[in-house]
């Protein structure tokens, strides 16, 4: 197991139910001295090593990608890239709370975005749950060091929200030691530069939609893979289209068993929406900057500032609610519980919080909001553009609302 914080399991009926009714640990929202010492160690290391905020070129450029990879290597060298992983894979073997503390310090330092996020936050927990020991030993260390960066090959031109409708397929190789992939994937974030891809392919065209899928780990420079970069709304090549033409993948790169791809993918999706992709520190830090921006604008342009006071406060509260909810969920996981359909509620909340924070910031900036001159305020606009994608990726918020309605409220399927 990579780390308890990265495991996503079954639906739990009542999130309030204690895992064990005899449990008598009183509620306590303070970290221990040892955890505070860990925080201090992380803070000290980050302040000595992290590049200044926004110092690296954008990770959606070839140059920026490599700069971000180098930063991953620096972190890995001192075992800060994946703190919650076991030491054998390059981590520190710390728990979920320490991971959250590390994230707080990471965002506080405004350290670079994680170019390895698809691997370390999404694939790794799935690998830990479904991978063989050989697969873990093969893939986790280079993922942790940034040597191998992963992208996610799920969406297709005709299968977005309806993921089970994918058509890319895999047939058994004549050599009988692997599979041959054919088809097209799209919107793969960081796909333009990544070394590896975790993708879903149809291995049994006869089976019912969800049944015939298999989860493959594919090397991007395999013969037959073509990558076409796609510029995103900001003009940078943030994602790519991937074409597979008779691409051979050995059996050792099937994750979780042939025909079990949907189950495995749902574990990844749970990480994407639940605990691991978006740590609360990301929003707490942005909310803190928002309050600072408010204070600054209140002095310069009080009339405009007071119009946004309510929105600024609510955005900060939303981030705080997310932080507390994460601690609630983390406690539950530490007590042996699991994260189920709450991950969908979580995804709706974090994506809307991100939007609320950035919308409030742009409202504060007023006419300066549209400026993109690399000045101190430009990150708010970039952040807003990215926040706008939040309700789309990781399963659109409309789909998550369906999940909340059907699984949390028991409404009939449509």
């Amino acid at each position: 197991m990579v780390a308890e914080n990265l495991v996503v399991c079954q639906i739990s009926p009542d999130t309030l139910e204690p895992m064990d009714p005899t449990m008598d640990t009183p509620m306590d929202l303070r970290y221990t001295d040892a955890q505070e010492a860990f925080r201090e160690e992380a803070r000290t290391w980050l302040s000595a090593h992290a590049p200044a905020p926004h110092a690296l070129p954008s990770l959606d450029t070839a140059e920026g990608f490599e700069a971000h990879r180098a930063w991953e290597r620096t972190m890995f060298a001192d075992r800060w890239s994946v703190v919650s992983w076991p030491e054998e894979y390059g981590g520190r073997g710390v728990g979920i709370l320490e991971w959250l503390i590390f994230e707080e310090e990471y965002w506080r330092a405004q350290a670079p975005l994680r170019v390895s996020q698809n691997g370390i936050f999404l694939l790794a927990p799935t690998l830990s749950e479904f991978g063989t020991d050989q697969q873990k030993a093969r893939f986790l260390p280079p993922m942790a060091s940034g040597e191998e960066i992963w992208c996610q090959g799920w969406s297709e031109p005709d299968a977005g929200s309806d993921l089970a409708g994918i058509r890319s397929r895999a047939r058994r190789a004549h050599s009988d030691d692997g599979w041959v992939l054919t088809g097209q994937k799209t919107w793969a974030s960081r796909g333009a530069f990544a070394e590896w891809c975790f993708g879903l392919f149809r291995t049994d065209p006869e089976a019912e939609r969800h049944r015939g899928l298999t989860y493959f780990l594919v090397e991007m420079d395999s013969p037959g893979v073509t990558v076409r970069p796609i510029p995103q709304i900001d003009g940078e090549t943030g994602f790519a289209e991937l074409f597979f033409e008779e691409v051979f993948v050995p059996d050792s790169q099937v994750l979780g068993g042939v025909g079990r791809g949907w189950n495995v993918a749902m574990a990844t999706a749970g990480s994407e929406r639940g605990l691991s992709l978006r740590s609360p520190a990301r929003y707490s830090e942005a909310a803190t900057r928002l309050v600072a921006l408010y204070a600054e604008r209140l002095a310069l342009d009080p009339e405009r500032a007071v119009l946004t006071a309510d929105a600024v406060a609510q955005a900060w509260i939303d981030a705080e609610a997310y932080r507390l909810n994460t601690l609630w969920t983390a406690t539950r996981v530490l007590d042996g519980g699991s994260v189920g359909s709450e991950a969908s509620a979580n995804k709706i909340h974090w994506s809307e919080t991100d939007l609320a924070i950035h919308r409030a910031a742009l409202a504060l900036l007023g006419p300066a909001a549209e400026l993109h001159d690399g000045g101190a305020d430009a990150p708010w606009l970039d952040g807003y553009l990215f926040a706008l994608a939040g309700p789309i990726y990781a399963g659109t918020n409309e789909i998550q609302r369906n999940v909340v309605a059907e699984r949390m409220l028991g409404l009939p399927r449509g």
């Binding site: 064990d20 303070r30 709370l97 705080e320 601690l327 509620a345 609302r401 309605a405 009939p412 449509g414």
Partner: protein
């Protein structure tokens, strides 16, 4: 760091939930709408269970517990729109009296006997707003004890406690008659004064913060109830040959309300803990909790009415019993906007 209730706290909640499901049905609520009273057989049951005296010191017959132990029970009170004044009596008056025991000329013996009577279920209390925030007082009509504040003379605000009869209470008609709102006319005297100056100021602040969190906890319960009622209705009611809950527009309304509720929850529990601990940012936590709980309740009220259609707009439907409580509590002890302003003020204040 352990953000969870204990097994015991959950068990107590379950007991109270079971009892209230039996003793506070919607028929009971209708009866209370018709003839609102402060002390009832249900109140006696709650006192016997230890709920009413939960925060009364053990020496005076209570359980000596904190707000964190009470929030889950207040949530249950909200779930059934409990007509009796549990919040004012148990979450506000009892801890205030406990804090001020021995203070002021009102005398330790009187305070002690009030505390004992609260724990025994023989009196109820109503608590007035902080000075400078005039508002009708919930539960004033029929209350045995009135906890009131004045801006006081030069040396700051004062807290007074009056027994029924010592003040004139004029009933005020409101949407939810079980709130028993009243306007109170009274004369502060040296005899009624329990605290003044900085002692009174800190008591008033603590009481307002507790009121915000306790009201937020009740709102969680009433919000959950409205969402569940609407979801249940959406599973039964058929139109176009299927349950309306199969229509996505209906699903999305309810899902939105559910998400708001679930993210208000940790704020409320966290604020209860912070207040009990006297954490430095406890007041801000209390305001954040009330802001979100108020918004979640108003949204759930709107959504659950919409999902019910015209039947929800009738007196016959039980829904309005909960909508009215939600609307009233969303504005009580500070609206969402007022609490947001307080949150921002605290964030901007130099550390």
């Amino acid at each position: 760091m352990h953000f969870a209730f204990t097994g015991q706290q959950i068990e107590f909640r379950d007991t109270v939930r079971r009892v209230l499901a039996r003793e506070c049905t919607t028929d009971d609520l209708r009866a209370a709408f018709a003839a609102p009273t402060a002390r009832t057989a249900r109140w006696a049951t709650l006192a016997e269970l230890g709920v009413v005296g939960l925060s009364v010191p053990e020496a005076h017959g209570g359980l000596g517990l904190g707000l964190l132990d009470l929030v889950l029970l207040l949530e249950e009170a909200g779930r059934v729109a409990l007509p009796e004044p549990l919040m004012a009596t148990s979450a506000l008056a009892a801890p205030l009296l406990g804090d001020l025991e021995g203070a002021g000329p009102a005398g330790a013996t009187r305070v002690r006997s009030w505390l004992e009577e609260i724990a025994a279920g023989s009196i109820t209390a109503a608590v007035g707003p902080p000075p400078g925030c005039p508002a009708p007082i919930a539960g004033a009509v029929g209350a045995d004890l009135l906890v009131l504040t004045t801006p006081g003379p030069e040396d700051g605000p004062e807290v007074h406690v009056l027994e029924a009869g010592a003040a004139e209470v004029t009933p005020i008609t409101s949407l939810d008659p079980t709130r028993r709102l009243g306007a109170v006319t009274w004369e502060p005297t040296a005899d009624t004064r329990l605290a003044s100056g900085s002692r009174a100021a800190s008591t008033i602040l603590a009481t307002s913060d507790r009121a915000a969190v306790a009201t937020a906890a009740e709102l969680l319960g009433v919000t959950d109830r409205m969402v569940v009622m609407a979801a249940d209705y959406a599973k039964e009611r058929k139109q176009f040959g299927r349950p309306i809950g199969a229509f996505q527009a209906v699903k999305h309304l309810l899902a939105g309300a559910k998400v708001k509720l679930e993210f208000a929850r940790p704020l409320v529990y966290g604020a209860a803990w912070a207040l009990d601990q006297g954490a430095p940012d406890a007041s801000r936590s209390a305001s954040a909790a009330k802001a979100c709980a108020s918004d979640a309740a108003v949204e759930a009220a709107r959504v659950s009415l919409q999902v019910h259609g015209a039947i929800g707009y009738t007196w016959e439907s039980d829904l309005h019993l909960f909508l009215k409580r939600a609307w009233a509590l969303s504005e009580a002890w500070g609206s969402a906007a007022e609490h947001r302003r307080r949150v921002l003020g605290s964030l901007l204040a130099p550390a």
